[in-house]
């Protein structure tokens, strides 16, 4: 298993399997294929965001605006569809909107010389506010529901929901870019030692801009997937997704100090969060306690992973 997934993801896989088996022991219905697929499908939107967050964390940046970017691209896309734009075209435009919002984040960071966590803390409200203002705070409904867009994007493909396929495609592509292109190495080099990166001729502002655009465009992709599934636009959707995406990336094994990261780990981290949320329902945890329980499970997951990691590095030290 280590060989297949790489050491980085090993701990997360163990955590996920333990969780699923533990819930399944008490509630075998949880192990139904349909139930498991549904858990992953629900996690897929945050999963796409978490893939982008992996890049940001790996270069010591953060994008707190992804939840709002997600909502604003979704609202933009749904309003275009409502006004008669071809849904496929509107979907492409929604992804572009996400990219442009990322560009705004990057431009703010680079021209004002402020850290991305500050810039996106501002745009978190700005983008959400725009989504609310454009939709006048109401759900954008009345979309052409029988268009192929909704049946394809919101439906199944080869027996699995399309959004899971898209998440998998995004994760594969971003893993390849992360591990095998100069761009991916630049991201990690900056996270490892920004000064040395600069002194090697890497432009930190340029890479920061690229990664923020990537993160924004991915939020647009997540927005399109959501739009396809719900066939309506909710301006308040995705509040707190930015924190879920960050939590997922950290559970997945991307360290906050930067320098490394794992896109697959972040996807698995999102699935772990989704599994916990469903599991709490199975165990009948009162709805008012579910947030508390989710937090506890996040801490346990991170602790278990840290424990496994320490074991791993201890044995590799002995090998030296």
């Amino acid at each position: 298993m280590k060989r297949v997934l790489g050491v980085d993801e090993f701990g997360v896989v163990v955590v996920l399997v333990v969780l699923v088996v533990a819930i399944g022991l008490f509630h075998p219905a949880f192990l139904d294929r349909a139930q498991l697929v549904d858990v992953v499908r629900q996690a897929s939107f945050v999963g796409v965001l978490a893939c982008g967050m992996t890049y940001l964390l790996a270069m010591r940046e953060l994008d707190l605006s992804v939840g709002s970017t997600y909502a604003l691209s979704l609202i933009a896309g749904s309003m275009m569809m409502r006004s008669g734009v071809n849904p496929w075209l509107a979907a492409v435009a929604a992804v572009a909107v996400g990219g442009v919002l990322g560009l705004v984040n990057g431009a703010l960071c680079n021209t004002l010389g402020i850290p991305s966590i500050i810039a996106t803390l501002g745009t978190l409200s700005v983008f959400r506010g725009l989504a609310l203002a454009l939709s006048e705070g109401r759900q954008v409904a009345g979309l052409p529901r029988d268009d192929a867009f909704f049946t394809v994007v919101g439906g199944d493909l080869l027996g699995l929901p399309t959004s899971i396929w898209v998440l998998a495609a995004v994760a594969v592509a971003l893993t390849v870019v992360f591990k095998a292109t100069p761009f991916g190495y630049r991201v990690r080099a900056i996270g490892s030692n920004p000064d040395a990166a600069r002194f090697s001729g890497i432009s930190i502002p340029r890479v920061r801009l690229q990664v923020l655009v990537l993160s924004g465009a991915l939020a647009g992709v997540a927005g399109v997937l959501t739009l396809g599934f719900f066939a309506s636009g909710q301006p308040t959707i995705g509040q707190g997704y930015e924190l879920q995406a960050i939590a997922a990336a950290i559970i997945g094994g991307t360290p906050l100090r930067g320098g490394s990261g794992t896109v697959w780990g972040s996807v698995l981290g999102t699935v772990i969060l989704g599994t916990v949320a469903s599991g709490l329902v199975y165990f009948g945890v009162p709805i008012n306690w579910s947030l508390f329980a989710t937090g506890i499970v996040i801490l346990l997951a991170v602790a278990l992973d840290a424990l496994l990691r320490r074991r791993g590095s201890a044995s590799s030290r002995e090998a030296l």
Binding site: A180, T181, R186, S192, N193, A196, I202
Partner: protein, 498 residues
Amino acid sequence: MYLASGIGKRFGGVRALDGARIELRPGSVHALLGENGAGKSTLVKILAGALPPDEGELLLNGAPVRFSTTRDAVRRGVAVVSQEPSLFPDLDVLANLFPACDLRRGGLLLDRKAMARKAGPVLDELELTRPPTTRVGELTLAERQLVEIARALLEDPAVLILDEPTSALQADAAARLLRILAALRSRQVAVAYVSHVLEEVVRLCDEVTVLRDGRNALSAVPMAELTLEKIVRAMVGDRPTAPAARPAPSLDAGTAGLRLRGVHVPGHLDGVDLEARQGEIVGLAGIAGAGQTAVLEVVCGLRIPSAGTLAYPGGGPRPRGLRQAIRAGVAVVPSDRKRLGLMLDKPLWENIAQVRTVALGRTGAWVRAKDLRERAAAATARLRIRASGPDQLAGRLSGGNQQKVVFAKWLEAAPGVVLLDDPTRGVDVAAKAEMHAIVRELAAEGRVVLLTSTDPAELAQVCDRVLVFRKGRVAAELAGERLTDHEILHLAHGANSE
């Protein structure tokens, strides 16, 4: 009176001090001089209580003392103003003057009025004109130094050690220092004055102690009996100064190289002309801040000159920044390799690929780790980097081997101009010699090499030519027979070229 005698100190196998002596008398400003590595800073640390001596004794007003910490030394009346800033920039002057917060009302609240009363006369004496409510971050460097000295004086010290109080190019440094030293003399403080700037020492100090190889070359000699010439000779000693065996530079005089013309950088460079041909190693010497580092910074695009021209061997426009310079073929080997040179948590091959493949993207759209590992293994063998293989983490290597990795990553990028900023700092003798060989090889392959070093002997040994900087200008050029460490040191410290 503060006397240190017979002071010995070892660090591992290295003898830093071997029976050194210095005697500081009230009302007298005593210069403590020596080359890098002569033991100056070790002696300062021992005097200030930051290091215990292995041998010898410290007598304060005739009584033997042994300090456990610098704080302990300050309590007993021995204070240091060092070049490391130790102020809190976000607090105001008054708060900085009383870091222990010991003036209080009712035991709890700070008594700012009492603090101002106590600080007033000292600030007046030092002529710090800014109100004491100014945030220290808003002060100029010179003013901050006054605050540091005022803070030391408020402890009413019997002994004050000024460690490198000026950097070479501060405009009003001389007048300010005269004022400070006058204040100290009138308070009957015993002052030790540690400096690189010999001209200043000659003007300002009353007596001189020179250390060489951990021993006294001069002991408390009155300044009236000395000249700059005599001081330099005491610092360098009579060691053989024959130029090292250098292969005669086989240069084609016509080869266009690196050229700087009339380069000005306000506060750093004042009209520098420099020409370095391909295949030539040009040394840049001078005391800290004399301009040699600024030249490197101009060439690699970190500083943009206010006037003058810069031309690279291949032609092309002047760089707008570091990145453009690197793209134009400039390599930068910084002295602070851990901070600026390496990714300590990454394997050697990633470090070695960082410029060519990652930053410049010269190997195409895909990073082929297998190829890069092989290239890194070849570079490791060629530069004799002692590592278990290309997958070893850079942080696990010794200092000398780490620096060789930095060389390797730049060699991969095939630069036309190589800038070496004190590349062998903190590297052992054997690794140093290997690095010198690498530097010669770099030049032999037709590159322009500029080298600075805090070790004049290194410059004399490795370079074809050495430019000696003083106050932002090229004060002299040394080559051939005249290129010796003695001559470099002599000129760097302000003696005129014959």
